[in-house]
């Protein structure tokens, strides 16, 4: 468990941000599911609850999701269920349990950019932007490979397009971390394939995505794209699986996801 000397519940982002950068040990609290695993000694814990960041709203052909929105909110949102073939609710549904997802937040999940993240992989195949209070708005892909810099993630925003998408994850037990996860989407012939839990951070498989965009998602192409993804990405070994198995899984899951997208688009 972490401990903290002070607690701040700021009413403005400026105040939150200034406090955050004023001392190294000052920390933003998300749902704390992850933070509590560590033993961090915080100077000031910064709670964003009073900044109105719990929302999923539609604006200007985009969906905005506030940083304090929970994973369960994503799962049960009718808007998200009917967008992108229900990609996001499907991506988060196996994360531990309902009670857990009622606590863990979008901000904490996206900001920490964990390798195993289901949400990150899914978001990578959407038109997703991340808004940081200090760093401004940027595409998720850029944020995802960036370094950790102290900032406050205020929201993410998704282009509400007619994209078809599919999500596949392989887990040793149903509510365990992914051994590997894959998201695939297709919009007007543009394909995107992302692979996470390699176990490194999720990445877009550029070659596979390009190939599909040029050749289409027919069955033989699905297999070829799967091979490309397996070849272009790096995989590692951890407690849950070896690199070799992950590479093999990548090929299977990409193929399955592409086939699924093809069927629903």
């Amino acid at each position: 468990m972490f401990s903290t000397r002070d607690l701040l519940q700021p009413e403005t982002f400026e105040q939150a941000y200034e406090t955050l950068i004023s001392r190294r040990s000052n920390t933003v609290l998300g749902g704390c599911a992850f933070l509590r695993l560590g033993r961090k000694k915080m100077g000031t814990a910064i709670d964003l609850s009073k900044l109105g960041l719990n929302f999923i709203r539609e604006a200007d052909h985009r969906v905005e999701i506030g940083a304090m929105t929970t994973l369960r909110d994503i799962e049960t949102s009718p808007l998200l269920a009917s967008s992108f073939s229900g990609l996001l609710p499907r991506a988060v549904r196996n994360i531990v349990g309902v009670q857990f997802r009622n606590g863990a937040t979008v901000g904490g999940s996206v900001f920490s950019r964990s390798g195993f993240s289901d949400l990150l992989t899914a978001l990578l195949v959407l038109d997703c932007e991340v808004t940081l209070f200090h760093g401004g708005t940027m595409p998720l892909a850029e944020f995802a490979c960036g370094a950790y810099e102290k900032d406050i993630l205020t929201k993410i925003s998704l282009g509400l397009d007619a994209r078809a998408a599919a999500y596949q994850s392989f887990r040793n037990t149903t509510s365990d971390f992914s051994v590997l996860n894959v998201a695939v989407s297709c919009l007007g012939g543009r394909w995107l394939v992302a692979v996470g839990a390699r176990p490194q951070r999720a990445r877009v498989a550029v070659n596979a995505s390009e190939f599909l965009s040029q050749e289409g998602g027919a069955e033989t192409n699905a297999s070829a794209a799967a091979l490309l993804a397996g070849a272009e990405l790096s995989f590692g070994t951890n407690m849950r699986a070896t690199a070799e198995f992950r590479r093999a899984l990548c090929q299977v899951l990409v193929k399955r996801a592409v086939t699924e997208v093809k069927q629903c688009s």
């Binding site: 903290t4 000397r5 002070d6 599911a33 009670q99």
Partner: protein, 151 residues
């Protein structure tokens, strides 16, 4: 710091530490149905409701329930007893350590789920681990309680 909350229908003002978790606060105030079984958020034994939603009290900072309602098993004892009667008639409680968390989530499920097939029930309750029963008896009891035959 002082928090004001409605716990099991009663207004309370409690002094809590800034980094105190709700599970500890509730236990310290005599709500002993609230127990913990892990340090990582995996077991669901500590499940209580905040604003009617099931959450892990082991991972919820106490100050965050300021101005909110909190419900533990003690606060829904009538409904809990109804389910517990079915559970015990099924012989599906063993050591009982996981029961309070399970019941809180079953009652939440009953309110929230629209379709209650075996899969939906098992998925909703996936965050409630039990090492004794093997889950089958719990499933039978939940189905009886909901008045569904599952599939």
């Amino acid at each position: 710091m002082l928090i004001n909350a409605v716990v099991n229908g009663k207004k309370v003002s409690w002094e809590v530490a800034k980094d105190e978790m709700l599970a500890d606060t509730l236990r310290n105030h005599g709500l002993l149905s609230v127990r913990t079984g892990c340090d990582t958020g995996n077991c669901g034994i500590c499940t209580v409701w905040v604003e009617g939603k099931p959450v892990l009290s082991c991972s919820t900072l106490s100050f965050r329930v300021d101005g909110k309602s909190v419900t533990t098993l003690e606060g829904v004892s009538k409904e809990a007893a109804k389910f517990a009667e079915i559970l015990t008639a099924e012989g599906a409680e063993q050591c009982g350590f996981c029961s309070p968390g399970l019941i809180m989530n079953v009652l939440a499920l009953a309110r929230e789920l629209k379709t209650c097939g075996d899969e939906e029930i098992n998925h909703y309750l996936a965050g409630n681990l039990c090492r004794c029963t093997g889950y089958m008896g719990q499933l039978r009891a939940v189905k009886k309680y909901l008045g569904v035959d599952g599939r």
